[in-house]
């Protein structure tokens, strides 16, 4: 049997710790505001539809289930169709809110504004990271540097006993085994986070491959469809190595790599490390940011997710649900769910800034 149950148990313990840690500073500000909103929320009813990124789909789903649990008549429908579709459908007005791993550029924001007749807002709601998983369980904890990861995916490093890997792992008995790099075959935010990381850390990668939701992979690498496809490819091919959503790796208990961050620390993809990474990020007022150069205790391959909404054009019932739901996702209950599933919630300061954005929704109606 899989050992995910044990891991989940450990995780819940960790999340409890994390909660007490950030709970203190959180109590006074937001909770009061949320309280009044929730009172208003009892009269809410209707359906809102959102679509977009699959990266946070797991936590969104549980958030929605928990949120709806005590509100009859309210339905939040979120479909993880991919952030590209999410953005286009948001701009195309066919959904109420969108979600994307990549922030909207000024150009896209302008297009959205032109389509709706009022500006759009975007705000992050959760952080997540991308883990490097192996076929071989004995490799759990193997240390990799961004240069080595880039080397593996550009097929310069093709064997686990390569000197570059050996140098980082003096204590490991490395197998003589060809590496088979697995990537996502569908375009995805996970690929974006992964390639963005290599793109910013490794110049040679930037020259050859760049970043994106899909990139031109080197030959003799193989694609898998979705996180499931990648993990199947990893488990079916000896020597398989691939990148998957951390929440996914956690649930399946996949053996994963430690990755060296900007401060030279080898960090395993844990929740604390993701939370730490999110605190490293320098977030501008426009919320147009990516997580780069993570140091300290932060796990370096991390990304966030943006929610897209408009400042006008909703009927009151819809706007109330959107605002109430996303405000709710900033509460401790929501944070606990996120942690349980392997996502890092926002820090207290960021939550305040995000709440301000949420308040702008439909404000120009």
């Amino acid at each position: 049997m899989r050992n995910w149950r044990a891991k989940t148990a450990a995780l819940v313990a960790v999340s409890a710790l994390a909660l007490t840690a950030c709970g203190g500073s959180d109590d006074n500000g937001d909770n009061g505001g949320d309280g009044t909103k929730n009172e208003g929320g009892s009269s809410l009813s209707g359906t809102v539809t959102g679509a977009g990124a699959s990266f946070p789909a797991t936590v969104f789903q549980d958030w929605i289930a928990a949120y709806q649990g005590d509100k009859s008549g309210v339905t939040v429908n979120y479909q993880s169709v991919g952030s590209g579709t999410g953005v286009e459908q948001f701009i195309g007005q066919s959904i109420d809110f969108g979600s994307s791993e990549e922030y909207l550029s000024d150009e896209a924001l302008a297009e959205a504004e032109a389509a709706r007749g009022c500006p759009a807002v975007q705000f992050p709601v959760v952080f997540g990271s991308v883990a490097i998983a192996f076929n071989d369980a004995s490799l759990d904890g193997l240390v990799l540097s961004p240069e080595v990861i880039a080397g593996i995916y550009s097929r310069d490093i093709t064997n686990y006993n390569d000197p570059a890997i050996a140098e980082l792992n003096p204590d490991f008995d490395l197998p003589d085994q060809d590496i088979l790099p697995v990537h996502r075959s569908d375009s995805s935010g996970t690929t974006f986070v992964f390639s963005h990381y290599l793109n910013t850390e490794v110049p040679a990668w930037a020259d050859a491959f760049g970043e994106g939701k899909e990139i031109e992979w080197a030959g003799d690498t193989i694609g898998g469809e979705g996180n499931e496809g990648v993990s199947q490819q990893i488990s079916q091919n000896p020597g398989g190595l691939g990148y998957v959503n951390q929440s996914y790796a956690l649930e399946l208990g996949l053996p994963t790599a430690q990755v060296i961050n900007a401060d030279g620390n080898a960090i395993a993809p844990t929740l604390e490390a993701t939370t730490a990474a999110s605190e490293e990020a320098d977030i501008p007022d426009t919320f147009q940011f990516t997580i780069n150069g993570v140091g300290g205790d932060g796990y370096p391959i991390a990304g966030t997710n943006f929610i897209l909404a408009y400042t006008c054009g909703y009927d009151d019932a819809t706007a109330d649900i959107i605002k109430d739901f996303w405000s709710w996702t900033l509460t401790e209950d929501a944070d606990a769910l996120a942690l349980e599933l392997g996502y890092a919630p926002l820090g207290a300061d960021l939550k305040e800034r995000v709440q301000a954005q949420i308040d702008l929704i439909n404000s120009q109606a």
């Binding site: 699959s54 169709v81 991919g82 952030s83 590209g84 579709t85 286009e88 150009e107 896209a108 297009e111 060809d178 088979l180 075959s185 569908d186 375009s187 995805s188 935010g189 994106g212 939701k213 899909e214 031109e216 992979w217 030959g219 003799d220 690498t221 193989i222 694609g223 898998g224 469809e225 496809g229 199947q232 490819q233 079916q236 091919n237």
Partner: protein, 327 residues
């Protein structure tokens, strides 16, 4: 009074019905034209930007991110996907067609009478099984348990084959590959082709079969020389339907072909197909990419047209020679 009224109503009802069914018939053109115009229109800027010919033959595909109809940044060579579609569909039909013929003939001619109905029911049922089920089964069960060992054996036994530079079974073996996708497609279209072929040979006049038997023909000769020739157009139609399904199959191929944007002569290497690429990239597509995916859709549509026209010509030509009454 009421008699004239009803006659009048009849006089109106008859032409009205005629117009209704004529319009319904014409609706096929309207829907088809609508689809072609709409998608071609969306894809047009990409064809203009890339050039239709280089879109078909180019083997590099880099999605761009322009939000308008101009300033495209990508490179669009769809050859790897066209190639993947061709190769997988060909593998599928090469495996499935002879098997389907055998199975249809077995059910119709050899199987014990009381088994014939249950067998043809089962075939029909399997022909209607959603492709997502074939995809799930192929990926989660067949690939690791059967296909991988089989492909590895192929590689180790026939990997040396080199036909003027073409090495059909060259390694490495990843599992997901043209051949894996082709085999699962074959399993998927087998009941589809069988169901139609069985139906076609079932309506073959028993009289003629008996005439051949009475001349001392063996069972095999009756199938070969009486049933097969006069079922030819039906068999072609069935194959084309199977081929069409194989060419257009999305989910099952997406799960099994390995999705790389390069193409390779070895059947054991991973590739991508047109339909699978559209489906896999649609979710994250920028407006520019969406147009490029529409362009693949248009090419895919042209393929179906060519297959159908080809089938027509084939039926017509060979039908004349074999005296097939159904032509």
């Amino acid at each position: 009074m009421s008699a004239t009224l009803s006659r009048q109503r009849k006089r109106i009802a008859d032409p009205a019905f005629r117009w209704f069914v004529t319009l319904a018939g014409a609706s096929v053109f309207v829907i088809l034209a609508g689809m072609v115009i709409r998608t071609t229109n969306d894809a047009w800027p990409i064809f203009q930007y890339q050039g239709f010919f280089s879109f078909l033959t180019g083997d590099q595909w880099l999605a761009g991110s322009s939000r308008t109809d101009s300033d495209f940044t990508g490179t669009y060579g769809a050859w790897p996907f066209i190639y993947g579609t061709l190769v997988t569909a060909l593998i599928a039909i090469v495996i499935a067609l002879p098997l389907a013929l055998c199975v249809a003939f077995y059910i119709n001619q050899l199987a014990p009478k009381r088994l014939r109905n249950p067998l043809s029911y089962s075939v029909e049922m399997l022909a209607a099984v959603p492709s997502i089920i074939f995809g799930m089964w192929g990926f989660f069960w067949l690939l690791p348990n059967v296909l991988r060992p089989f492909l590895e054996w192929l590689e180790s036994t026939f990997g040396w084959i080199n036909l003027a530079g073409w090495k059909p079974f060259e390694g490495p073996v990843f599992g997901s590959s043209y051949l894996a996708a082709g085999i699962v497609l074959a399993i998927m279209i087998l009941p589809i082709i069988t169901a139609i072929v069985r139906e076609v040979i079932a309506v073959n006049p028993v009289d003629q079969q008996h005439a051949a038997y009475a001349l001392g023909a063996t069972r095999f000769e009756v199938m070969r020389k009486v049933v097969l020739p006069s079922s030819f157009s039906g068999i072609v139609a069935a194959s084309m339907l199977g081929l069409g399904r194989a060419v257009g199959e999305t989910v099952a191929v997406m799960m099994l072909i390995g999705s790389t944007k390069s193409w390779d002569g070895s059947l054991l290497s991973a590739g991508d197909s047109m339909a699978a690429h559209i489906a896999a990239r649609f979710g994250e597509a920028t407006p520019e990419t969406t147009k490029a995916l529409m362009a693949i859709g248009v090419v895919l549509f042209l393929f179906t047209m060519i297959i159908n026209i080809g089938a027509r010509l084939l039926v017509w030509r060979i039908g004349r020679v074999s005296g097939d009454a159904a032509v």
